[in-house]
Symmetry: C2
Subunit: 459 residues, 2 copies
Amino acid sequence: MSLDDVLARIDADLPAATDRLLDLLRIQSISTDPAYKAECDRAADWLVNDLQSLGIKTEKRTTPGHPMVVGHLDGDGPHLLFYGHYDVQPVDPLDLWDRDPFDPQIQDTDKGQVIRGRGASDDKGQLMTFVEACRAWKSVHGTLPCKLTFFLEGEEESGSPSLVPFMREHADELKSDLALICDTGLFASRVPAITTMLRGMLGEEITITGANKDLHSGMFGGPGINPIRVLSKIIASLHDDTGRITIPGFYDGVPEISDELRAQWEGLGFDADEFLGDVDLSTPAGEQGYTALEMIWSRPTCEVNGIDGGYTGDGFKTVLPAKANAKISFRLVGTQDPEAIRASFRKLVQDMLPPDCTVEFKDHSCAPASSTDTSDPAFAAALRALSDEWPDNAAYIGCGGSIPIAGLFQNILGTTPMLIGYGKDDDQIHSPNEKYDMESFHKGTRSWARVLHALTNNV
Amino acid sequence: MSLDDVLARIDADLPAATDRLLDLLRIQSISTDPAYKAECDRAADWLVNDLQSLGIKTEKRTTPGHPMVVGHLDGDGPHLLFYGHYDVQPVDPLDLWDRDPFDPQIQDTDKGQVIRGRGASDDKGQLMTFVEACRAWKSVHGTLPCKLTFFLEGEEESGSPSLVPFMREHADELKSDLALICDTGLFASRVPAITTMLRGMLGEEITITGANKDLHSGMFGGPGINPIRVLSKIIASLHDDTGRITIPGFYDGVPEISDELRAQWEGLGFDADEFLGDVDLSTPAGEQGYTALEMIWSRPTCEVNGIDGGYTGDGFKTVLPAKANAKISFRLVGTQDPEAIRASFRKLVQDMLPPDCTVEFKDHSCAPASSTDTSDPAFAAALRALSDEWPDNAAYIGCGGSIPIAGLFQNILGTTPMLIGYGKDDDQIHSPNEKYDMESFHKGTRSWARVLHALTNNV
């Protein structure tokens, strides 16, 4: 089958493909906020309709949370599965957006055209690169070159609570030869890459309560316990002066990377000054003794994602608050055990509680880190296909983010994940003014056509 | 002149006096929130009208903030000034109120009738005890027994920014023989008291900024600095393990109380277990080596009144926030210098800032502590008058709160302040469901009549 015809069709169809993506971006599918439940549903319906238009037998499958979209196409060749997610992050602080996050727009910038809007990069734009590659292939060849399963979820940005039960229940249906996942980026916004190391993630929310109500800091200041001070002390204790995390057992299962891998990463020419400089930072703030790239790809972290307590409005209120709350997350590497760390963290918090204070814990996401064995020849074939599309040769890289699905394919289904994505460092995912470069969208779509071609001739 | 006739008139007029107070409580005069500016104005107008109906020549006097209400009545005898404030605290968290905070109501409780609503105790109810005492006196005797000045402000709950300039500008007009202030409480909700020691207050707001925008904690977690962690570390460093405040020079001017005063306070029979037990606490959390009462009356504090940063909505968001904010206040004693402490605090914060972080400071209230010389015979006379009204004998006490006006009368006008109030510990001032006991309102009004009688026969 001719790859060139497919690539030409992708080029010709780019304006229409862009319109389809804009359409999907207008749906406010914020999964973490219950107020947007119907919008998540609407995004799932949109994808079901679109995949059905490609002849893929697709259904919206209910879960206790937001629905899964699952589609199948029978065919010859290897059985490939494609995974992406249609949900997006919340948009606050809204006043830092230059425009309505859900009124997406094509904008001309110094660096070329961009698609601006929440989800443009993470993950609707990325997801649609694969869909558009399939559309072009189907339109040129009347069929696709393999047996194909689509598996799209709507809870990735809120810890994927329904994912594991769904994968377990439908393991036979979802098992495949290779799982393609499009939720990662180019290296240094330039080098096409297959991500082979992903950090895991553990989310915890703690609420510390002192008195049974907010108190007057004049009347009770002194003998009255202050939960904000208690919480601050706990947070301050989670790192030592060298940036190491102090939770007992936290570093169990954290490997030092091999000299070989370190040398390979150094060869990538990662510019830490530029990476940090883009966001007005200059000094890597993580564990001493590691490069910025090692901090992101190979070291675990503990971060406070939100804190809240007492009077936070305009002006001043001399209140001794009854409660203080923090959302704390851990990025995990190697074989760190999220559940063991959760237990150790909770014990540390409990042990630090002074008299009269209680703590309430809330579970959030929990997934171990994952790393992929690249000895399967499909990996070398995909690497070559990517190198054909982009100016730079493709590389195996790590990723600081957490894409739990990669580990789950491996552990639950026994299917090797292959993570390929076209996001750039300045896409501002999870931040105001998120965008996806038109180059990412266009060359990303072409890349998938090349990878499909390579895998179906090689796997 | 007959005191008994005045007391009888107060008793007979109680229902009408209560209705007047309810009327004033309906005005939403929250001074710290600019949204309620017109309501503060309305409260000032209400008081101007009411005082004018007593024959007191009263004006609303503009300031850069909320207006002052100043009234004068010529007369024989000593020149007394009365101070109170018509502004109130914000009402959040609104969902913890049993009813609309500005729809006040008389309620029957196990402990007797209460007036429920924001400001019922702090300070509208207290303020009106003096006004009602004057009304009864005027109605019985046709005049008041002294030269009288009313001085009512509307910014007490927001740091009184206009107070000092106004007092300086109008010092000649406001100078008097004695300044009566009604913004304090009964001791142990039972013992009538003249408050002779008040803590000072210093308010600081700090905002720490790291990156130029919120970041993704997967992409930047490790090398990216987290302002919430920086802020938590600063807050945690402000106290040592014994509860002492670590800011250099903070304890300059903090006196140890005399053995005599300590013995007198012990004689008051303060029940720390009950005081803390009322709000579900049991262990005095302040500096080791001091009783709970000493912590409140004679020791300085540093409290965090509010903290805010990152994602604080429902669910979870793996953000590395760009900013974190805290409102921090200090209660001061003895001759602690608020400006010196502000400077030392800011230096400590600056010195703790890691690379790539900046801090912005915002001033809030600033007033030194004050203590009153009780050798003037007016104090002994007032103490006797209070003892006549209440079952327990009156006492000189301290107060953990900050009523900057007391020190200002002394320092700017050279006028001795006399602080008498009838609030109870369970009034829930600054908290949801604030109330003022009908007993406080009724016996408070009677107490002022007795004090007026005693002062005008003795001063």
